[in-house]
Assembly symmetry: C2
Homo-oligomer: 150 residues x 2
């Protein structure tokens, strides 16, 4: 169900960093130090809506959502709430946000989407490395040490 | 898996109208005429995070999300995009938003959450009736004609 012709949207590529491949999706870190913010991008050519994926892909995405949530909890302390969102009003390529929220964070209690310009990490690759280290706790069993060609 | 002690959060009760019961969740219409906006509220006492539901409930919620999306498409024309969100920063009771978006709507291309005060329908019960009529197309096989006691 993964398309060989999958190409990551250039805006997602510019704003986020590859962490790992799940069975269906690329797991990526949004390069915004304000929020613990993961993105799942199913490697399905042309997909725009979760509900239009076939049933098997939908269930894989749900499983990956669980894993991404566990990874956030393994890596970051004291998350008040998880926020899940699949919007795609600007970038149509299907992608699902999983964001750890803390009371008083830069957008609290509003949504992170549209909350102003992102603030890139000082060293985003270190954060990706820490996430990969926490990965097994988060349920991602295979975390490559280097991203595949994008 | 549905809790007998389920109680709807009073803020959800005040802002949205009962449409139907799915196997897991109440399906409700957000009383905001600016957007075609459905809400699924799992009848699970104390639930706050989708990813903390048991697996069977997660899959039911996913199925209901498909049904709610189909209902939006059956009732409303020309939806540019569906937006799915589970935030809960303000109302902690687990609820999932399924919103039909149109280019140029009141919040486009931003999220509907935090997009200003809702604008109640002139006659919200008529809209609920139309949604119930469209319900079979949307996959909700049992749409009660009257809400249960809330």
């Amino acid at each position: 169900m993964t398309s060989p012709t999958f190409e990551l949207d250039p805006r997602l590529a510019a704003d986020s960093i590859f962490i790992a491949d799940g069975p269906l999706s690329q797991l990526r870190l949004m390069d915004d130090a304000r929020f613990p913010w993961l993105i799942l991008v199913p490697r399905v050519h042309g997909a725009t809506e979760w509900v239009d994926l076939d049933g098997a892909s939908q269930r894989l995405l749900l499983a990956e959502l669980n894993q991404a949530s566990a990874l956030l909890r393994a890596r970051y302390n004291n998350l008040t709430k998880l926020n899940i969102g699949a919007l795609g009003n600007i970038v149509r390529q299907l992608h699902v946000h999983v964001v750890g929220r803390r009371e008083g964070d830069a957008a609290w209690p509003g949504p992170v989407w549209g909350s102003g310009p992102r603030q890139p990490y000082a060293d985003v690759q270190s954060e990706v490395a820490r996430l990969r280290q926490a990965g097994s706790a988060g349920g991602f069993s295979t975390l490559p040490s280097a991203p595949p060609g994008e």
